[in-house]
């Protein structure tokens, strides 16, 4: 085949691929555009959630929802129940994985298998409710925080375990030479070296907690303590016909996620790929 002809077919192929990609991406983009457009429409205009651009931009919808949806309060609750488990799990999982990797005794291997099991197996919420009642954690934000922490532990241990295995043991030994104790070796030498995986863990766990609706649905019936997703759902239940306002709550709930996604895309994707089995 002559070379020019080949490059012509390549070029055609290239254009075909790009256009296929963008046409397919409409399937993803259109639903989001619908939400965006309808969030600034009037109630009547948004009744069918169509892709027509708004006649006039009603930004006051955002003010209305901010007030009647108590968005600030649910933001605060969501932030609290997402950040705290993220930190609890980051600390406890990194310390635990460090010892599980370095001291490969029979019992430690068994512990690791127990954590790995949690990647695939479901936990039955009815029993989680029972156990949290036993510990006095039911219907409270601290209870939700501890349950979230335990649910995100398997993936976090899995990620730290894989990362620590690649850190040479000589690092720990250098610390001992300097006369550091166990805690100092870990926090001054090892933990700073884990920065890449720690970034992944923080972002993933934050997103997982922020996005979870099932656990609060079972565990946190008190409307005063609602997280943002519960607020969105309640709002949807109360204002079923007002799709413009529901769209606004959706944007409020998604905004922090999108910000986190664009700031930490690299870490999120690498972490999700590495810890894929958990999902």
């Amino acid at each position: 085949m002559p070379k020019r002809k080949l490059s012509m077919t390549r070029k055609k192929m290239h254009i075909l691929q790009i256009s296929t990609g963008w046409i397919l991406s409409l399937i993803v983009i259109i639903p989001f555009l619908i939400v965006l457009f309808n969030s600034v429409k009037t109630e009547n205009e948004s009744i069918n959630m169509l892709l027509t651009p708004p006649v006039a931009v009603h930004l006051e919808n955002f003010v209305t929802v901010w007030k009647i949806g108590s968005i600030l309060k649910s933001y605060r609750n969501s932030l609290f129940v997402s950040v705290t488990p993220t930190l609890i799990t980051m600390l406890s999982a990194s310390m635990c994985s460090y010892v599980l990797v370095r001291k490969q005794t029979g019992i430690n291997k068994f512990y690791y298998k127990l954590f790995a099991m949690g990647l695939m197996f479901p936990v039955s919420m009815v029993s989680v409710v029972k156990v949290s009642k036993m510990f006095g954690l039911y219907n409270s934000l601290p209870g939700l925080i501890l349950v979230f922490s335990s649910l995100i532990l398997p993936l976090t241990v899995f990620l730290y375990y894989g990362f620590i295995r690649a850190i040479p043991k000589e690092m720990d030994e250098a610390g001992i030479m300097d006369g550091a104790n166990a805690l100092q070796v870990f926090f001054r030498i090892l933990f700073p070296m884990m920065k890449p995986v720690t970034s992944t863990v923080i972002l993933l766990n934050f997103l997982n907690c922020w996005n979870d609706f099932m656990v609060p649905l079972y565990l946190l019936p008190d409307p005063d303590r609602s997280v943002i997703l519960q607020q969105v759902y309640n709002f949807y239940g109360t204002f079923t016909a007002s799709w413009n306002l529901v769209s606004v709550t959706i944007i409020y709930a998604v905004l922090p996620v999108v910000v986190v996604y664009f700031l930490g895309q690299k870490y999120i994707i690498s972490g999700m790929t590495a810890g894929a089995i958990k999902g």
Partner: protein, 291 residues
């Protein structure tokens, strides 16, 4: 001596304590509760009497209830299949050196980082009688397909499956992309020299080389599909006429009716299904391409 104390067992205690108390304990207790008639139907008293396998017998001898189990497996398998086919297709498309592939990857990945609650609300409106999808169908002349997709018994389950596939295909795409990038170009050059067609290159080079990614993605798809709850809860809540009721939703409904023993029994069945399909998928897909 210092060597022994530097990896102190105390480091493992917080994580193990947390995990045992709020993950392992509920999992174990659930097996026990599934064998009781634990409920709170009568006001004031929560009772849990040992009833043996009565809950399971009820589930497996009532056709509507055992249908839920088959429907859950069906949901898991169908969504896993399409997420993988479409995810691999997108990965192949975006693995080529084309312009704007990074933006396209980011767009396709976006749904998988959003809460299923949000996605459920969006598609709930999308498939309404006068919603965007039906207007689109009418607009291109397919009037006879216009109907409320989520509240019609024959299409509700398929529609929820489509939404679940839409939600996670981008995630699987990213894992396939990672797998594709690990294939050494040497294999394709060798295939070119042998005069292999694109299809031959795909089946003889690409597929065997991305087996690990396929394995991960099948497991992932199954874990997501079998456990899917929030997306169904928002889209149909099991209806119409129980046609989209899955194990995860009936667990919530039994919980709401305060029939905790039944909810626990469904939980155990879910556990067994996840274990069975998880191990099966591992067994089938975990092969070394060089062996």
């Amino acid at each position: 001596m210092k060597h022994k104390t530097i990896y102190h067992w105390g480091f493992t205690v917080p994580a193990l304590l947390l995990y045992s108390a709020l993950f392992l304990l509920p999992v174990l207790l659930n097996f026990y509760y599934s064998l009781t008639n634990w409920n709170a139907v009568r006001l004031m008293s929560e009772s849990a009497k040992w009833v043996g396998f009565k809950n399971y017998i009820k589930i497996f001898s009532t056709p509507e209830l055992s249908a839920i189990i088959l429907r859950t497996i069906n949901f898991g398998l169908v969504t896993t299949f399409f997420k993988n086919i479409l995810g691999l297709f997108l990965a192949l498309l975006l693995n080529a050196k084309i312009k704007s592939r990074n933006s396209l990857r980011a767009v396709f990945f976006l749904p998988s980082i959003l809460s299923p609650l949000i996605i459920g609300l969006i598609f709930g409106s999308f498939f309404m009688t006068n919603g965007f999808f039906n207007q689109l169908l009418a607009g291109i002349g397919l009037h006879r397909f216009v109907h409320p997709w989520l509240t019609t018994q024959s299409t509700a389950l398929g529609t929820t499956m489509a939404v679940e596939i839409w939600r996670q295909t981008g995630f699987l795409m990213v894992i396939y992309l990672a797998g594709l990038q690990m294939i050494d170009a040497v294999y394709y050059e060798a295939a070119d020299i042998d005069g292999a067609s694109p299809w031959q290159k795909f089946t003889n080079v690409t597929l065997p080389r991305i087996l690990p990614a396929i394995s991960v993605n099948v497991l992932l798809g199954l874990a997501q599909g079998l456990k899917a709850f929030v997306i169904i809860f928002v889209l149909t809540n099991g209806g119409p006429n129980s046609s989209t009721e899955l194990i995860s939703t009936i667990m919530f409904h039994e919980f709401g009716k305060k029939l905790y023993g039944m909810s626990a029994a469904y939980g155990v069945i879910m556990f067994v299904i996840c274990a069975f399909f998880g191990l099966l998928a591992l067994k089938i897909t975990n092969r070394n391409p060089d062996a």
